[in-house]
Symmetry: C2
Subunit: 358 residues, 2 copies
């Protein structure tokens, strides 16, 4: 239902980005990259969470060398995040990085950038021009968050530089800490630039407020058709970034199908323990693949309607609760057995779909 | 920075809605309305959370009578949520409700709707025409979530009815469980209707996923300038709905100023305990009024830049951490004293702003 803006298609490792390909989810490790064991342990958890693209910081030579093992041990394409020292970008590519993220605000050396471009185009490595309001190039720097236009100008200058230097797979980002500035910057650059856009709100904050801020910013852009790959930036475990990213995509119908619990906000009409039942159901359905819509509704206002639309549903009533399946009432159960009865039906459906799940 | 779509201005109790007035935050009690004591206790907590508009379900006569006391005991305007029995709407207005929410899908009686309209126009009570995908009028009902067009048609029919019946303060909502359908429906109705729009995603789910879903849907609409009042629907304490609603508004620069912790997502470069410091700071700043931007940054990539833009900031370094205030370095502290040093500076600023806070 969302009409996506057209961008060029590039391929990062084995993941296509842009040109209408599925929107990919990224995160970044927060272990010391040179601590290969800790980094691989974290990457394992990130991969389990169904992340598509991985980024690792490469602040020193030891980290660049560590990439060789890291790239070998994960299925995800690996992007090396480079600042200050362009030589580390070359070393990261030598060690197998599928992509390089360069921030025009932290590498000033034109000679260095040319070397990066040369190496990237020879190796077919993707370059992300990643501009950030916290580290904007001096010539574009303005007050508070860098106005959207300044972020865009800096990014376009970087893009032109890499295009002219022969790089033929580019991604672009123009992140700000301010969500309105971020939205404005991406709206502007999506009109000016054909390369796929990596979207996100930079330094969004802690798990709860940072997730809300990211959902607003990334969600607003995706709803306008802008964005080819996303990263949620949280001061939290990278696995949480992946979970929130997938949830944002799922909300907009942009993720692979997975179970979804519709539940009412409860009010004076509520006849069953909606909060308890919905939370427990969500917990039990985590990690399950495939489409399954379960409605947990407190009363008869939207209850029967929602339950009818869902694959499975429960609606509270005065005396008992009604269980719906495929739009039909299949059982009437005492209210205190609501959760148990619903879970039994969920399990039947899951067993039916795949024998192994039971 | 967001250009809001123009709507008519109405006044609900003492809260103006539409016509460019600040976007108000709503929630709904989930106690039995007839249990006045429990309802007032919850309303007290909702008011403390800075909610603007309150809604209560009125499923029976006892609840309608309870409104008299409830309306008297709160400063917020009170909207009575009516389904099935139009007589309860009259009784709610007699007992002081400032607004009535009517769902055209749950009250079919034209005679009843006329009586509601007559009473509302005489008393100057605001009527919300609140359409919902789970209880759409039969004539408009389509598969799964009701297509956006069906929600809009049902709402516009209701609006015309109340306009023709002489009601001159109307709000409109077209909520669906599907976020893309919700966004599409509001985009459509905002072109067709001048009355202020109450926006939200219905039955969004449990606290975490429901908040993300609401942030995506409500955030995307607000970013396009659509929406005059918002309600986040969560299977959770109504206070959480208010918190999330305010956070969505704040994210888009649409809420009164309050402290904001910018914090980096941490990576291999991180030199201080960003997650711990940011979480603790956020906790300490909760409930404080006024603008204050504090940046917690792990390293020197975006650290100095963000810290410079913030009122107060900390950036991790190899040996020690730098504290910034108003763009200047004011201290260099051992990394293990980062939190303590930052909190001391925050407290100095808060004391300076208001003597009572210290």
């Amino acid at each position: 239902m969302i009409e996506r803006k057209k961008t060029k298609r590039i391929v990062l490792g084995n993941v296509p980005v842009g040109g209408g390909e599925p929107i990919s989810v990224q995160t970044m490790t927060n272990t010391k990259t040179s601590d290969i064991k800790a980094t691989l342990e974290q990457i394992g958890r990130i991969e389990c969470a169904r992340c598509d693209i991985l980024r690792v910081a490469v602040p020193d030579e030891e980290s660049a060398h560590a990439l060789r093992k890291i790239v070998k041990e994960t299925k995800m394409p690996v992007v090396a995040d480079i600042h200050f020292d362009w030589r580390l970008a070359l070393l990261a590519m030598e060690n197998g990085a599928d992509g390089i993220r360069v921030n025009p605000g932290t590498i000033a050396s034109r000679k260095g950038l040319k070397e990066i471009a040369k190496e990237a185009s020879q190796r077919g490595v993707v370059v992300r021009v990643g501009v950030n309001s916290g580290s904007l190039e001096k010539e574009f720097r303005v007050k508070r968050d860098g106005e959207a236009g300044a972020l865009v100008q800096s990014a376009l200058k970087g893009v032109t530089f890499f295009e002219d230097a022969g790089v033929n797979a580019i991604k672009v980002s123009v992140k700000a800490t301010s969500v309105p500035v971020t939205i404005q910057a991406y709206r502007m650059i999506s009109k000016e630039c054909e390369w796929p856009l990596h979207i996100g709100v930079t330094e969004a904050g802690t798990i709860f407020s940072g997730s809300i801020r990211s959902a607003v910013g990334i969600g607003a852009l995706l709803a306008e058709g802008i964005g080819d790959t996303i990263r949620v930036s949280l001061s939290a475990d990278p696995v949480e970034e992946v979970r929130v990213g997938l949830l944002i995509l799922k909300t907009l119908g942009l993720a692979p199908p997975s179970p979804w619990v519709v539940s009412c906000p409860t009010c004076a009409r509520c006849e069953i323990d909606v909060i308890g039942i919905a939370s427990e159901l969500e917990r039990r359905l985590e990690g399950i693949e495939g489409s399954l819509r379960v409605a947990v509704m407190g009363c008869s206002v939207n209850g029967p309607g929602e339950a009818r639309e869902a694959d499975l549903g429960i609606a509270g009533g005065r005396v008992s609760a009604l269980i719906f399946k495929g739009g039909k009432i299949i059982a009437k159960v005492p209210k205190e057995h609501s959760l148990e009865a619903l879970v039994t039906e969920v399990e039947k459906i899951l067993k039916g779909e795949s024998g192994e799940r039971g």
